[in-house]
């Protein structure tokens, strides 16, 4: 049972700034996902939480208590590593027992706990094997079991699924989610995979270049990305970005999405927005097929460049204002490259970004 707060944490290795002014807080029982591209400092932040690295400045609080100077073993944490980090010289039972033994848990209790996590993770037949005799998925189960057995107040996961094949990854992801629903142990989970982040996290912290880009619930991040990076990172297929050059028309910005300027779109002008070039963002699933011309509703006439059926829906690639745009449309219409299609881009679905700073300037939805 742990609440976690990170206050203005910075970390440098020599001259390299790996974390800059990281602040966030989560409640007891939450599942926090740290997500971002490789090298953005996720592992370093996790190691700081574990006490395996010291922060350069700032504070880390567990249950409101500052733990900066508390040794890893006294932080009441369990950790699952990317490369499993099982002890090669011990069998599975020994691996799970090691942490209990170090904490002088009585032998009988140890056996009970081992049996319990082995049952929970279905690794009972593996208890007598060495890590070298296990597959990747089995090793990761054991690693999770080892963290679980200790009944720590906080679980730390560092890309635990990234060494598994795609199918196993999806299975284990679901299992971790179920496990968390069952135990409700506060967890911090590092990944570079936005799907894992979205599916697992009660809250997600997106990092890039040593900094937090946005911290919020999966829905927040999806609906109201703070900047171009977050908008492009969350969601698959990724959000479309279309360069536009709006004119100011009273309280509104007006711009056109094709050279012929046959479709002009007006959006409420965000406060202080210059009429310089902007980036319009719209998600593929928010572009719909427009009714045939003349049916009253506005539509944008585009040439289909590519058709990618995925099963549940089909991705159409078109060009809008010189940018490649994907639309996710129902699968029952048979589209062909070279044909024309009328797409509806609803202004209510659009976001505007400042291309210089990357910040979103349109209002929250």
């Amino acid at each position: 049972m742990t609440t976690l707060e990170i206050r203005n944490v910075s970390k440098t290795f020599g001259d390299v700034e790996v974390l800059r002014d990281i602040s966030l807080a989560i409640e007891d029982g939450e599942f926090l996902v740290l997500v971002g591209p490789s090298g953005c400092g996720k592992t370093t932040l996790l190691n700081c939480l574990a006490g395996l690295e010291n922060v350069t400045s700032g504070d880390i609080l567990f249950n409101g208590r500052r733990v900066n100077d508390v040794a890893p073993k006294d932080r009441d944490i369990g950790m699952v590593f990317q490369n499993y980090a099982l002890y090669p010289n011990m069998d599975v039972r020994g691996n799970i027992a090691f942490g209990l033994e170090m904490r002088k848990v009585p032998k009988a209790v140890q056996a009970e706990k081992i049996a319990e996590v082995a049952r929970m993770l279905q690794i009972e037949p593996l208890l007598g094997r060495r890590p070298g005799q296990l597959s990747g998925g089995q090793r990761q189960r054991v690693a999770i079991g080892r963290a679980l057995a200790r009944e720590a107040g906080l679980f730390l996961f560092d890309e635990p699924l990234s060494n598994l094949d795609a199918k196993l990854r999806v299975e284990m992801r679901a299992e971790i989610k179920l496990l968390h629903q069952r135990t409700r142990t506060t967890s911090v989970y590092v990944t570079h995979d936005q799907v894992e982040a979205m599916t697992l996290g009660s809250r997600i912290c997106i990092m890039k270049d040593a900094r937090i880009q946005q911290f919020g619930t999966p829905r927040d991040l999806y609906q109201n990305p703070a900047n171009l990076f977050v908008a492009g990172f969350i969601g698959s297929p990724a959000m479309n970005f279309i360069p536009v050059s709006p004119r100011r028309a009273g309280q509104e910005l007006a711009f056109s999405l094709n050279a012929a300027e046959t479709q002009t779109i007006t959006l409420p002008a965000p406060p202080g927005a210059a009429t310089a070039d902007l980036v319009l963002g719209i998600r593929p699933e928010e572009i719909t097929l427009a009714p045939a011309q003349g049916a009253g509703e506005a539509g944008l006439d585009c040439e289909i460049l590519m058709v990618e059926p995925t099963g549940p829906d089909t991705l159409l690639s078109v060009m809008i204002n010189g940018a490649k745009v994907q639309a996710r449309v129902p699968p029952h219409v048979d589209f062909r490259p070279g044909e024309r299609v009328r797409l509806a881009l609803s202004p209510a679905r659009m976001m505007l970004f400042d291309p210089g700073t990357g910040a979103r300037i349109s209002a929250d939805r």
Partner: protein, 303 residues
């Protein structure tokens, strides 16, 4: 599995043959020749009659039995001392360097320096340090510690121990590097996991690092064994072909050399008996290495 095609086998033979031929000419043939020498009588270096196992029987009887057993005992003591003390020190130093103290690179280099130093130089260097009249260690022991006299190399009670210490000084860098490499090969994450599991430094060393040094231990134990049982160089530099003082530095290799090529005090040679010693020495080293390696490998952790 199907056997590889013939052309492939031929190619492999083509590439392996030169190395095999060199080995046969320069290693296997001399070894067999040495064995055959033990089966003949010799007058100086000219071969006489075939005498079967006569020289082996001579070796098993007085006076040579005592000499041989004493030499064998010195080899065994050397092995045990180096196995425990040299490798123990190496393990400690390796662990210290593993913690990456300031100057780790410097110490690593310094430790390895004597290993690449010629043994003859090492021998003379230490003889100078221990010179009974002006050796700095001698002066220290007499002037500061207050001993009446200090001449361990001239005293048959201490000569072997002192020579083993020199050898340890010279060789300790090698197992150190091997152990250090073994420690560095253990993934960092495993050590971190152990720390989170609540293990202290000693427990990590004892429960995680040591058991995962298996391959390093195997190679070091075997090399220590071979080195100790074939030990020749330092005893020869310090004590000559008879292993002075009073044969206290005699080893099997030294005995073989003395019998085969004579020594300064008695130029008489006994090549047949020397050959017998070399064959027994070879058999001991071969059997010891083989059984040792098999036993130790079985105990290694299969990752």
């Amino acid at each position: 599995m199907s056997s590889p095609p013939l052309s492939r086998t031929l190619w492999i033979a083509f590439f392996v043959a030169p190395a095999l031929a060199l080995m046969a000419i320069f290693m296997l043939a001399p070894a067999l020749a040495a064995f055959s020498y033990a089966l003949y009588d010799w007058k100086a270096f000219s071969r006489g009659d075939f005498v079967g196992f006569k020289h082996f029987i001579r070796l098993a009887e007085p006076p040579y039995r005592g000499m041989f057993l004493a030499a064998l005992g010195h080899n065994a003591i050397t092995f045990l001392v180096k196995l425990t003390i040299q490798n123990g020190i190496a393990l400690l130093i390796a662990y210290a360097l593993y913690q990456r103290p300031i100057g780790a690179r410097f110490f690593r280099g310094t430790l390895f320096l004597p290993v690449i130093l010629s043994l003859v130089i090492v021998g003379y260097l230490w003889q100078l340090f221990l010179h009974p009249l002006f050796g700095p260690i001698t002066l220290f022991m007499m002037d500061i510690v207050g001993l009446e006299q200090f001449a361990p190399l001239g005293d048959s009670r201490f000569a072997l121990a002192t020579t083993i210490l020199m050898s340890i000084w010279r060789n300790v860098g090698f197992p150190t590097i091997v152990f250090l490499a073994g420690m560095n090969a253990i993934p960092d994450e495993i050590i971190k996991a152990a720390r989170i599991d609540g293990a202290n430094d000693w427990q990590i060393f004892r429960r995680i690092i040591l058991p995962n040094l298996g391959p390093a231990f195997t190679i070091i134990v075997i090399l220590t064994f071979i080195g100790a049982f074939e030990w020749f160089d330092l005893p020869f530099v310090i004590g000559g072909a008879t292993g002075n003082p009073a044969n206290s530095l005699d080893t099997m290799a030294l005995m073989f050399f003395r019998l085969s090529f004579g020594d300064t005090s008695s130029p008489v040679t006994d090549v047949g008996l020397g050959g017998a010693v070399s064959v027994v020495l070879f058999a001991i080293v071969l059997a010891g290495s083989k059984f040792g390696a098999d036993y130790l490998r079985k105990r290694e952790v299969k990752a």
